[in-house]
Every structure is written in C-alpha cells, then in structure tokens.
Symmetry: C2
Subunit: 292 residues, 2 copies
Amino acid sequence: MSRADTERTGEALGIIAGGGVLPRLVAEAARADGQLPFVVAIADGIRSDWTPYESVKLPWSRTGDVFPILARRGIRRVVFCGTISVRPDYRSMIPSPRTLMMLPEILRMVRGGDDSLLRAVAGVFERRGIGVVAVHSVLHDVLTPAGSLTRRAPDKRDDLALRRAAHAAGEIGRLDVGQAVVASPDRVIALEGIEGTQAMLERVGALRAAGRIGRSEPCVLFKAFKPQQDERFDLPSIGRETIRQANAAGLRGIGLSAGRSLILEAGAVVEEADAAGMFVIGTSKTAEAEAP
Amino acid sequence: MSRADTERTGEALGIIAGGGVLPRLVAEAARADGQLPFVVAIADGIRSDWTPYESVKLPWSRTGDVFPILARRGIRRVVFCGTISVRPDYRSMIPSPRTLMMLPEILRMVRGGDDSLLRAVAGVFERRGIGVVAVHSVLHDVLTPAGSLTRRAPDKRDDLALRRAAHAAGEIGRLDVGQAVVASPDRVIALEGIEGTQAMLERVGALRAAGRIGRSEPCVLFKAFKPQQDERFDLPSIGRETIRQANAAGLRGIGLSAGRSLILEAGAVVEEADAAGMFVIGTSKTAEAEAP
C-alpha cells in the first residue's frame, strides 16, 4: 500500500456506477484499501443489487440530486465506472428541481460521443469541487501489461490482423465512436458503434455462420484507447464474458492497448482464453499507430 | 446519344454481374443504346435469372474461365456491377485449370477491402487488353445530383447529423471498410463493416426499439464515395429498398456524395421518400471533408 493510499484510509469514495462487473470490483478494492465506498447507481447500474455497500439509485431525471447527496456524506472524490447503454433523453422526461436547474449545462453535455460526454460530466463534478479519480487508481493490477498473457501468442497472420484492427480502432476512436474493431489479415470485418462490443461480436458470429467470413480467414478483436481520451474514465476493457463472446464468434484472440486498457479479473480471463486456445496481448502505442 | 455512344452501337459489352437490381438496369441501358450485353454472373448474381440476356454463370472456382469466354465472343469492354456478399475462399475450393493458373495472381488480390479487391480485379482485365468502363458511362442519369431531391429538405439538426455522418463515412472509407454511416446531430450511431447497409440499418432499427437511440434524436444515413476509390466501380448507391429500410429504422433522410454515387430508379426512389416524408440529398465534396 502506497503512502497516498494510506492517507485515504477511512475516506469516503463515491462510485458513480453503471452496469457490468466493474463497479463492484471497484467497490471491493476500495473497501479492501480501507476506504468507504458509496455507490451512486445510474443508467444500467440501477438494475443491480448493491448490497453490502451503501448506495442510492439515481434515474436520469434526478441526475442533479447527486451533488447534495455527495455533500451530505462529505464525499470529495468520485470514480466513474460501468456501462451506460441508454443515454439520457432529457427532452422527454420530468426532471427533479435540482436536475432542472442544471438542465442547460446537461443539455450542452449530451452533444458528442461517449468520451466527450464523460469529459463534460467530469467537468461538472470538478467545477463543484469533487475530484474525479481513475478506476485503476482504486483497482490495482487491472491495467493491461505489454506482451502476450496467454499460452498461445499471435502468429504472423494474427499479427497482420491485429495491426489492421488496431489501426482502424484508433481511427474510429478519434471520431469518438466505438473502441472495438474485428479484422482479419486481409480486411476489416466489423466496426463498433453504439451497439457495444458484445453486439458487434454477435454480428461477427452471424457473418461467419452465413459464410461471409472465409473458413481460412483468421479474425481478431482489438479494443483501443481513444487517442484524445481522458485516462481517468471509460478505458477499453475486457472480462471473462468478452473471451466467451469472442470465442463464440470464432476469433483467434484479442489485442488491447497496453497500459491504457483494463482486464477485469485477469487471472480468470487468461484461464478462460487458454482453455479456448485464444491469445490475449497488450500492444504498445507505436504498434497501434502504424497503418497495416 | 453522344458520338461515343453511337460508335458503340452493335458492340458487345460484358457485364460482370453480382446481385441486386443494378446489373439488370445496366443490361437494359446497354441494349437501349444499341450495344450487345453479355452477362457474366458471379457471386450473388449466380442466383438470378438473366433472361432475356445472353449469359453465363461463373462460380468462384471457375473465375479464370472468364477470359476465354470473353475472347470467344470478341468482348473487349466490361462493366462491373452488383453486390458481392460472399468473397471467394480459394483456399478451400477445387479451381478449374484456368483458375488454377491464375491462382497466385488471385490470392494476391484477395488481400484488402472491397475497393482494393476491385482495383486489383480491374487490373487483371486491363492487363489482358479488356477495358473496364464505369456503370454511369452505360447507365445515364444515375449519378446523384447536388442538392435536395425530395419535397422535404434537411433542417438545421439534420444538417448537423449529415455533416457528422459524412465525415465519419469518409474516414471509414479511407480505411477501405464500409461506405455508410448513421449519425444523429450528437453522435455517430453505426458504422458499416462487411455486413452491408441493409444489415446496418436493421441494427439501427433494433437499437431504436431498445431505447438506445433517443426519441428526440433525429438520425440520418450517409453513403460516401471512398476518397481513394476508382470512380469506375462500386460507387455507393441507394435504391427503393434503401428508402424502405431507412424508413423502417426511423431515419429522417439520406445523404450521398453528389456526382460520385448512384441513385437507382431515381424517380421511384424520390416518390417513395416523399411518401415517407424523408429527404434525399446530394452533398458536395467540401461539405463532406469538414469535421462536424
């Protein structure tokens, strides 16, 4: 435990929690570090049970209430994590009074892709004196290391596919669209939009079943850090489900931006990938920037 | 009829035909011009009935046979048109002797996206003394004009969405992936990979039904010319089916690269769009290049 962590012992940490396994992992890590996690469930996170953690559920119409809630508990630091599949539609809801007060600020924010939205949200917190910390400053050992993590490493054709996918993923990331791309050595197969990685992988599986991907056309998934992204939130991530989905889509393996992406429950992820004969590899910034 | 056309009267034209309505429109136009169309059906085109035109069906394993077939008929000019949804998997087929002879050349070609594939195929024809002509040099009045074609024109928010979609479509086109993008004024919704425009529009419809697209989030489709593309083949195109699919996905309208995209059966397309209250607009090169 570093000195910074020690100083945080007993301090409250707000977890602005969407869906998926990540927010719970963050809460567990914060508690293990001696911090006091308080979960503010939003979006997909509202459907989860947050026991044993203290929590509140905030529908989009009550977004503005987050600040009095945090203030009442003396919370000065928050971490954003988890998936948000449905964006707020403020034009067709009845906001709480606090939310209504913030509505002009909120509506300006909703412009743009996920990354610009998250940066705007972070700004709203910071202007009110609440610090926004990165997931990996709470949840240690979750950043993807460089190099192959699995028994199987990419072969020459896989390397070509990884380079092609990484390059395309960087480009769509620059447009603040998705983070994920599936490619073969010959061509890009699928680009992630708002549907998310899981839906994209299901699409790849369907294309393969329909004969639209050759039997001898090895495909890989790459999830890339967006070049202009704030490293504190929405880093690309994979977990055990991603391995299962990628395997079902017939992929040979997965590449990630080393140091700027997350592997959730890495031990289980590598075990699952090894069992499926797949590779998982962290690649350097320079390798990603290269056109294939 | 221009002088060039007159000189072509009585001359044979090879139509290398994939799926969809385009190859038949090309054959009709060629015949109306006094040329003698001969259809070489490949890929998705093999499933069509080509009566009343002279035709031959070539599975991928017999690709190499196209040259003796054209030579026997004295055909010195071909036009490529129609969709190819399944790419050849030469590694797992038994090729005809002629195809086998060409296999090294063919396998080099299969590398890359659709555009690099088509350029390579055109090169193979040209090296054998066969000219490759553009669809719109046979089928006149099919190029998208600049400006709005429909009663409804895009409003200010639609314009924003069109700019966002056009910019993203140009970027993925540069990567030689898809040509089509769906966007709202706020963000990019979907990017076309190998699944094609129809499957992408079905995905957008499903995202809307699932509440992943806001009720007050107007979306548009843009199909863009790929910056590095050869204008002779695979220009982005729409037809009546595209209008129906876009309407089913809840889109407000469609934008296309003026002068570098095709509207098949334009009269019927505009009629169908007007009935659905949608816009169809051709936009200039400069408008596309701008970031939104």
